[in-house]
């Protein structure tokens, strides 16, 4: 039964991906893409990779879709959605053959792989030293904390890069449009009801992350979604990009992480946690990171400043 379910899911995933990539109409493609993210999250559930499923559900299906809807909106306003050309048939034939060859070689390589569960035993044997029950968190914030530090910086770099696109004269302004809603409408009610739920879910996901699936990135995404919801519902406006409070929220996670790494470098080694205090330090980093990730993601979705600041 399980295998039948898996086969059906895989077939759906491939079909939806094909529709998103090859169909006509960009809006339909975006709708398919959001469905695609959801199905991929289900695939991770079926593989019992719950942490990844959470990340995919929050980021892949949620935020990425919303980002692309934003780009669609901007292009629609500029009438830049058309043309959406398909390559000449000769190109298509060659591209098809090339991709078939690559897919075939990949399949052969996959069939030749040794299998097994890799480093699972090593991780489980070692994670006790960090006092963490969740193996994925142990890898993310323990064994490969350096990757995670760089990753949090990558996210911040993307925001700086987005800000570098600010139109002339609008630096220091407010990102995105000011949203309007009917005060007693569905949208405004959404904006009042959901953010508190998101807040609780976010805090829960960080707290759960040390022993059960969850963690800073998933939590940060849920928090960001709550923030953006409040903005979309017109209840709250985005801050000015030069706001000191905003800067503090953006920087606190990566800065704390880097500080812990630097202190470690001073005493034992880069990113070595103080002995006996591993878990509290990791938790502190996770909470700070969740906050920074939430702020960064929310502003990434909002885009570069669009309105002059100081005019509210």
């Amino acid at each position: 039964m399980s295998l039948v379910f898996d086969i059906a899911l895989c077939a759906l995933i491939l079909g939806v991906a094909a529709m998103a990539l090859l169909g006509r109409g960009l809006f339909a493609s975006l709708a398919f893409f959001i469905v695609y993210g959801l199905l991929i999250a289900l695939a991770w559930l079926s593989l019992n990779a719950i942490d990844v499923a959470l990340a995919e559900a929050a980021i892949g299906a949620g935020v990425t879709g919303v980002l692309l809807i934003g780009a669609w909106q901007a292009l629609n306003a500029q009438s830049a959605l058309d043309p959406d050309p398909v390559a000449h048939w000769i190109t298509r034939v060659f591209a098809g053959l090339g991709c078939l060859a690559i897919g075939g070689l990949l399949a052969l390589a996959i069939l030749a792989m040794p299998g097994g569960t890799g480093l699972t035993t090593e991780v489980i044997d070692t994670q006790g030293q960090l006092d963490l029950g969740n193996s994925v968190t142990a890898v993310l914030l323990g064994f490969r904390a350096y990757d995670t530090l760089l990753e949090s910086i990558v996210l911040l770099a993307a925001l700086v890069a987005v800000w570098s696109l600010t139109p002339q004269g609008l630096w220091g302004g407010i990102p995105g449009p000011r949203h309007r809603t009917r005060p007693d409408g569905v949208m405004a009610s959404f904006g009042r009801l959901l953010p508190p739920a998101g807040l609780i879910a976010g805090v829960y996901l960080v707290w759960a992350g040390s022993d059960a699936p969850g963690g800073a990135f998933q939590a940060g995404t849920v928090l960001a979604a709550a923030w953006i919801l409040a903005v979309l519902a017109g209840l709250q406006d985005e801050p000015e990009v030069t706001s000191p409070l905003l800067r503090a929220a953006l920087l606190i996670g990566p800065a704390l992480f880097l500080l812990v790494g630097a202190v470690g470098a001073g005493f034992g080694g880069f990113l070595a946690y103080p002995e006996g205090f591993e878990k509290p330090v990791i938790l502190a980093i996770e909470y700070a990171l969740a906050l920074s990730i939430a702020a960064t993601l929310a502003l990434l979705v909002a885009g570069p400043p669009r309105r002059p600041g100081g005019a509210r």
Partner: protein
């Protein structure tokens, strides 16, 4: 056929499909979509090959989460850049394909 193999092969299929989409469709939004499809295909191969008997290797899991966040960062920057490019009158197509065609 084990689930591990099934999902890994699905991942390979997504990579091939995404690459085909990237090459044959030159609208920038489609290229970013294709980037995300290829990315999730790569992650699926990564995770599935470390899966056996209901357990998935936590190392790929952690790296995939990192990879998802990195892909999101790139997508966010790309989305903002595409929007700005269109506002500057550049249209919606990849300049590379435009020059070639």
């Amino acid at each position: 056929m084990t689930p591990s193999l099934l999902y890994a092969l699905t991942g390979a299929g997504l990579i091939a499909l995404g690459l085909y989409g990237f090459v044959t469709r030159s609208h920038l939004i489609r290229r970013v979509l294709a980037f995300n499809v290829i990315g999730s295909g790569v992650f699926l191969v990564f995770g599935a090959l470390g899966h056996e008997g209901g357990i998935t290797d936590p190392v790929p899991q952690a790296l995939i989460i990192t990879g998802i966040v990195v892909a999101l960062s790139l997508t966010a920057f790309a989305a903002a850049m595409i929007a700005r490019y269109a506002e500057d009158g550049g249209g919606g197509l990849d300049p590379d394909a435009e020059d070639a065609g």
